[in-house]
Amino acid sequence: MAHYQPSGLPESNPTKAEGLLADLHLDLPLLTGLLLLCGFGLVILYSASGQDMAVMERQAIRLAVAFVVMIAVAQVPPTTLRRWAPWLFAAGILMLVAVLVAGQVGKGAQRWLNLGLFRFQPSELVKLAVPMMIAWFLAEKSLPPRWNRLLIAGIMILVPVLLIAKQPDLGTSLLVASAGIFVLFLAGLSWRFIGGMLITAIPVALALWEWGMRDYQRNRVLTFLNPERDPLGTGYHIIQSKIAIGSGGLYGKGWLNGTQSYLDFLPEGTTDFIFAVLAEEFGFTGILMLLAIYLFIILRGLYIASQAQDTFSRLLGGAVTLVFFVYLFVNTGMVSGILPVVGVPLPLVSYGGTSLVTIMAGFGILMSIHTHRKLLPT
């Protein structure tokens, strides 16, 4: 193996703050984007919760914990992450099996593992473990991967996805699947193969509809296709959410003035449907601002991935970023009525802690990738 010595790099004169950020292995643009997003999120949550200070306090604590996790992960060099990948993956699978056998039931699904002191949701760990594992596996050989390796990778994705879908947790299994598939995509999965998969997806989807779905899942799909089918049941959320968004107009009804959320017409206003609160109170302009922040974070993530020096980091960084986008799109698509109702939060804005930590850990990985680079000639 060859190592390139750093030579002829211009010595920058870092300021004190930049020095601190470098010491903490943090990326300033990404950090700025995340802080902006979380700040915006708190402003909306204040209104969505009905100006409940207790909710604000809990969310602030969760955000703080998540940022600490991010910083902690950022200290771990990508090489270490790569070493951990198979072990994390194996642990994740084992815990998913344990959840199905001895998990706790909440909201009609088995998702939690009681570890005595606290309850743990293994599917969150798997969200990161799967892309790490696939990236580790594909980075072993040169890219693009051969058919046989693709097949093995496919199985590696499918096993945890099915285990999570069985809990049942449609949203998370979708996110885990997309994480794995993004790694394959970034690894250079041939376009012909992608096209082929899309074509075969149609009969598979039909088969899934017929035999693989539970009634409530079928209902969700049907309701998605026509929310007015059940205006008092499953369709109610979407109808009320669309009313909130549409009545917001160009400039919104004003902060703390959203009638849909304040009069409780909007269900789950602080969690899955917080985007509708934003749209009602800040209007189209508010939405564009929020989406701009998201887009900036995503582009920065992709940039970091493309600047990474090894295949594992590139694949992992890219996949983590794209999963973040999936969160965003599935949630906003659901709330605005162009995607089915799948319980996915608006990342870093929705009230609640479980996915927050995972998402921030993902950004920790990105920061680690960017700040642990060895300097190479270009």
Binding site: G249, L250, Q260, D264, F265, I287, L291, G333, S336
Partner: protein, 614 residues
């Protein structure tokens, strides 16, 4: 090795950059789609969703008007609105109705009757209407529920104004009552005018003057949350309360009349002949109209419905009785006016009358007969034979033609719902309704107010008033003025003159009225017991047969069941020469008019002429 690693590295790096670029497209394209979709919702369809959002939160609520009050002629309140608390359940909002009621029972006594009423109302009303399960809660019960209110979603204490009739049975047949609007009524009323109003006039004045009493509904726009709770009032138009009614009835006189009946049932109507004002309108027995306001229990209703005394039956305007001998002054007057008779002409009464070539004996009430009687004697002693002969000579056509202008056989047009018209028989009527010819014998019994002839007490009183005022006719009225609150300008109800009875000679009228005076003042007068020194009464007794005594059979009062006894009637007006009150009294199964009905009329006239404020 070295080279190939580098080559691999560069190739993979290039590959990844291409893929990252694709990823950017993969991100931006759906985001653009999302933005377009949101622009569609927020800009193009903005107005549509604004409307939906407004419909969500803004609800229009009716503000029911307060029902108008009803006063008697002296300002005594007859119908009022009392604040009460009732415990109401909205079935739609209660998950387990049975269980909720069981739990409520632990807290507040709920009788089986309450439950029955609740179930009956429930089946008649919309699921989102609240239905009372207990009415007229005590303060303690209200407090007890208030503490436990959170345990009973869908159950509320409703504070509202409830119609109350303080005189109860005394005015029941005049006022009628209000009750909960039923499904049938919902189809006939203007639903928006009654939104928020649960009650409607069912009977009597409450029904006749429903529109006046009800008032106009107000509206308020309120902001509600998703559970339907009102957050604030956005805009409101206050309701305008119903108008108050001032009656011509004297409540005290009404009570005096009621009490004068003692144990007996019947009806009495007193009219001021000068203006048609109804001074008293009694149907006995009465009933407590307050039972009906919040829905009467089946048990109470059945008791009222099946009682032999028929308390719900308004005898004064719906009871149809043969007038008996009270019709004699009218037919006598007819005989004089037509010119067939003169007052002094005498006839011999042997105690019976026979049509030429008929064996049937039409009997007089007095077995031995009255001997030779003139018109005055015939009225004073109520001689039947004299009137058989008179009727025979007049014939049915002239009788009915002469009686019709007094109002016999048609409704008086009083402003109370439900009046019936009685029956004045004619040749045409009999052919049409029975397809039979008129028989001569029927003319005879019509002459003494029997047979097909039927009157209502109100009709008889009105005809008596016409007699008292020498032929002037005025439509009886019971509401004298309508007023908005106590400050509003009173709208006096019109006095409606009807076409008067044609008069041939004042002398004919004088001699009839003279004879009626003798009924109460003469030594042989059938109502001589009510003679008094304070004012002079012109009257006529009557007895209406409930069943027919067979030929050669004796009518023995002692032996027959009370229910089969004759009805006692009496008509009178006073002071006879300047009448201020005309009265008709019918005592069901009372026996003789002179001994039973006349004292009741006297009690009414005494009170009105001697004690009441004029």
């Amino acid at each position: 090795m070295y080279q190939s690693t580098l080559k691999d590295y560069l190739r993979e790096s290039r590959l990844f950059r291409a893929r990252a670029l694709s990823a950017v497209v993969l991100v931006v394209a759906p985001l653009l789609l999302l933005v377009f979709h949101l622009a569609q919702l927020q800009i193009i369809d903005h107005d549509h969703f604004t409307t939906l959002s407004r419909d969500n939160r803004v609800k229009v609520q009716p503000l029911p008007p307060t029902r108008g009050l009803i006063y008697d002629r002296n300002g005594i309140i007859l119908a009022q609105n009392l604040p009460t608390h009732s415990l109401e359940i909205t079935p739609e909002r209660v998950r387990d109705l049975e269980q909720t009621i069981e739990q409520l029972k632990q807290l507040i006594p709920i009788s089986d009757n309450d439950l029955k009423r609740f179930n009956r109302l429930k089946s008649h009303q919309r699921r989102f209407d609240s239905i009372p399960i207990r009415v007229q809660l005590s303060e303690a019960e209200v407090a007890r529920f208030a503490v436990n209110r959170h345990l009973f979603p869908g159950v509320e204490i409703e504070a509202k104004l409830l119609r109350d009739y303080p005189l109860k049975d005394v005015t029941a047949h005049i006022l009628g009552y209000v009750g909960r609007i039923n499904k049938k009524e919902l189809q006939t009323i203007d639903a928006s005018a009654y939104s928020g109003t649960a009650h409607i006039g069912k009977n009597g004045i409450e029904k006749y003057y429903e529109e006046t009493l009800h008032g106009e509904v107000g509206l308020q726009q309120v902001e509600v949350n998703a559970l339907g709770r009102v957050i604030r009032v956005l805009q409101s138009t206050p309701p305008s309360p119903g108008m108050d009614l001032h009656l011509t009835v004297d409540a005290t006189l009404q009570r005096v009349a009621m009490e004068a009946f003692g144990e007996d049932n019947g009806a009495a109507v007193a009219i001021d002949p000068r203006n048609g004002d109804i001074l008293a309108l009694v149907s006995k027995p009465g009933f407590d109209p307050n039972l009906f306001v919040e829905g009467i229990s089946t048990q109470d209703y059945n008791a009222l419905q099946t009682s032999e005394d028929k308390p719900l039956f308004n005898r004064a305007i719906r009871g149809q009785y043969p007038p008996g001998s009270t019709v004699k002054p009218f037919i006598g007057l007819g005989g004089l006016e037509v010119g067939l008779f003169n007052p002094q002409q005498k006839k011999f009464c042997p105690g019976f009358y026979q049509l030429p070539n008929h064996s049937h004996k039409y009997r007089d009430w007095k077995k031995g007969g009255h001997g030779a009687v003139d018109m005055a004697d015939a009225i004073i002693q109520s001689c039947d034979v004299y009137f058989y002969d008179l009727a025979q000579q007049l014939g049915i056509d002239q009788i009915s033609a002469y009686l019709a202008p007094f109002g016999f056989g048609s409704r008086t047009g009083i402003d109370i719902t439900g009046e019936l018209g009685g029956l004045l028989p004619t040749r045409e009527w009999k052919r049409e309704s029975r397809n039979q010819p008129w028989y001569p014998g029927e003319t005879l019994i019509t002459g003494i107010g029997q047979g097909y002839f039927l009157i209502t007490p109100l009709q008889l009183a009105s005809a008596t008033a016409t007699l008292a005022s020498r032929g002037n006719r005025i439509r009886p009225r019971i509401v004298s003025s309508i007023q908005q609150g106590s400050d509003g300008p009173p709208h006096n109800q019109p006095i409606t003159p009807l076409s008067p009875v044609e008069k041939q000679s004042q002398g004919n009228w004088d001699s009839i009225i003279e004879a009626m005076l003798e009924v109460t003042e003469g030594l042989r007068g059938t109502a001589r017991r009510i003679r008094n020194d304070h004012y002079r009464i012109a009257g006529k007794t009557g007895t209406a047969q409930v069943f027919t005594v067979k030929q050669e059979e004796e009518y023995d009062e002692e032996k027959i069941d009370k229910k089969m006894r004759d009805h006692a009637l009496f008509i009178a007006f006073a002071p006879a020469l300047e009448p201020r009150i005309a009265v008709a009294v019918i005592v069901e199964n009372g026996g003789h008019g002179g001994s039973v009905a006349a004292p009741i009329a006297k009690a009414i006239m005494d009170h009105y002429l001697l004690k009441a404020k004029s």
